[in-house]
Symmetry: C2
């Protein structure tokens, strides 16, 4: 849920309304359930309180969830982490402090209102982009970031530059774009992910753990064949249709690009090993096939979900007026694209789970 600037962040819809993230985040919830065992197991195997950096054997265990949005998923993840630590160290008298972090534009008021009344930790909100530093040096013991690291800090600037070979004219995404555009997205992803790792390397205590869950494309298939990419290609198609019918100008289309990229496991592994081999070791890396049946959801469910995620970004650029029409179109196109037998040709997205340990 992160981009670099304060002015146009990709923030999930706040509040509790029909299109709020709070009521439309079941997809992200599935991600949490899928990796639950991996996190529990990762803590059981790799967390060693006695080995942790300053202070050793902490009486305070500090957890950060990055890209937390407004709940409820973040509360479930955090509770699982706490339960896993307590399971491994039942004798220790540890107090937990949890840092819920997301963009400045995130609705922290709703996040705080949604905090579980029986929470067993001290809760804190941290505004800012996770591509920058958010915490003091060596101040966290566990970092969790689920379903957020497919957001770029910004769409690559050259996509909107008509002198660039990567100029993405008449498109807003890379699903059906030439190689130069795809490459620009990959390059931006590499830059952003490296910034993320560098910041976290400073913030995590030595011996601390970081669990990342990233929606990705399975290795070895064309990205346009992945259903997650296809879902966003539909959004592009709706915007282009509206441009052709005159409700969106050419200039607006050519200056906008969806700021997301879904990496492959091989791509992520390369980025971690090339840039941060001295800071992090990969304790576990696994692609989990995302089980949710796209074919089982109704077009309304899919549309509400996409709207909760994208409404802010879209209306920032195109204005509020086009939003209702855009998502009406999306619902229709979704039916055409996915609710027919041929749609089974799409390959399912994967959730790439990575457990990193900050080297001692």
């Amino acid at each position: 849920m992160v981009r670099e600037t304060k002015t146009t962040p990709a923030t999930m819809n706040g509040g509790d309304g029909e299109y709020s993230y709070n009521r439309n985040s079941s997809t992200q919830r599935v991600a949490i359930d899928l990796v639950k065992e991996l996190i529990t197991e990762g803590i059981a195997t790799n967390l060693d309180l006695l080995q942790l950096g300053s202070p050793s054997s902490p009486e305070i265990f500090r957890i950060a969830d990055l890209g937390c949005s407004v709940g409820p998923n973040t509360f479930i993840s955090v509770q699982e982490i706490i339960d896993s630590v307590k399971l491994k160290y039942p004798q220790e008298d540890i107090e937990f402090q949890v840092f819920f972090s997301d963009q400045f534009s995130n609705d922290f008021n709703t996040l705080f209102k949604n905090l579980p009344s029986d929470k067993q930790y001290f809760a804190v909100g941290v505004p800012g982009s996770f591509y920058d530093r958010l915490f003091p040096k060596s101040s966290l013991h566990f970092i969790h970031c689920s379903y957020s690291l497919h957001w770029l800090s910004n769409a690559p600037k050259e996509l909107a530059n008509h002198e660039s070979p990567a100029y993405n004219r008449g498109r807003v995404y890379y699903a059906t774009a030439p190689t130069e555009v795809v490459q620009a997205y990959s390059t931006q992803y590499a830059k952003d992910f490296t910034s993320f790792l560098n910041a976290r390397a400073q913030e995590l205590v030595h011996g601390g753990l970081m669990a990342l869950v990233i929606p990705g494309v399975p290795d070895g298939i064309p990205h346009s064949q992945c259903n997650f990419v296809a879902l966003h290609a539909l959004l592009e198609a709706c915007l282009i249709d509206m441009h052709h019918q005159g409700s969106i100008s050419e200039a607006k289309i050519d200056s906008f690009n969806l700021p997301i990229h879904n990496p492959t496991e091989a791509e992520l592994k390369g980025l971690i090993e090339n840039n941060n081999n001295d800071c992090f070791s990969i304790e576990k890396m696994e692609s989990v096939i995302y089980n949710e049946e796209v074919l089982d959801v109704t077009e309304q469910m899919a549309t509400s979900h996409v709207r909760a995620v994208w409404e802010g970004v879209i209306s920032d650029h195109f204005g509020n007026d086009i939003v209702d029409e855009l998502f009406d179109r999306y619902a229709k196109k979704f039916t055409e694209a996915f609710l027919i037998p041929e749609s089974t040709s799409y390959k399912r997205m994967v959730l790439i789970f990575v457990l990193l340990k900050r080297n001692l």
Copy 2:
């Protein structure tokens, strides 16, 4: 800005509108300016990084501002604390983490939006009542709380109980009330302030400092003669007038009491020494006469200020409908009460500055 429950907190008006706290907090700003030197001097004299509890000689210096509201005053206070620490330890390479804390109902979104763009610290928001625990044990190095500790967790319950000798029938405050009512307020204050000290004693590292600035009544004068009390007695008078004229029911009046109490320096000293002598030592205690000329403010300024502070509490109990009329009346009554020569008979409130050190 604190009461005990999540449901009816006394929270300053959020946002940036005409009656927002953000635009009507100059009174609290004066408080900050008045005690600035005392805080700088207190840090210079009493802070010893080498003596601080775990970790010794911290690389991270953690500051909490309790009752922060939405800014800008909290940012000024925090910057002064940081400047003072840097002045004393210019060689140390310290990172600062600042915990801005206020009620769950505080407008944290506005607080975060208002954060200075050039801030030299990691900012964090902490929702909750400062009469409860807010932070892990021994996790803060400096606690600041200005212009907030005159708020009770709740108005004393017996004031609304018609079987109690402290039943505050036909009134909503203690300025003109019988001794039993005044005593109930004092007792509640003692209970709340003690809860505050107990929580902070756990959260502050040994050797850590806590600076409190509390609007109080000068020792030795009847509380009803203090202008701060008189300002709130005016609010009571307006509510009673509206009751007499039929727009507020008797039941509504009798079930409501203003949840504030202004202590004297002697009262505070007794509470600290009786309850927390083993945890805290008083390094400095001083009553500063509040310089702002009540006579110099217009009735509109005074009314906007009182409205920014009280609108939430009043409309929670009496409903939104009475608010405009109430503060129109307040403006008129303010003129009658304060903008005439006789009003100089009121004694000025004091700001009671207390610097406490967590004993080693």
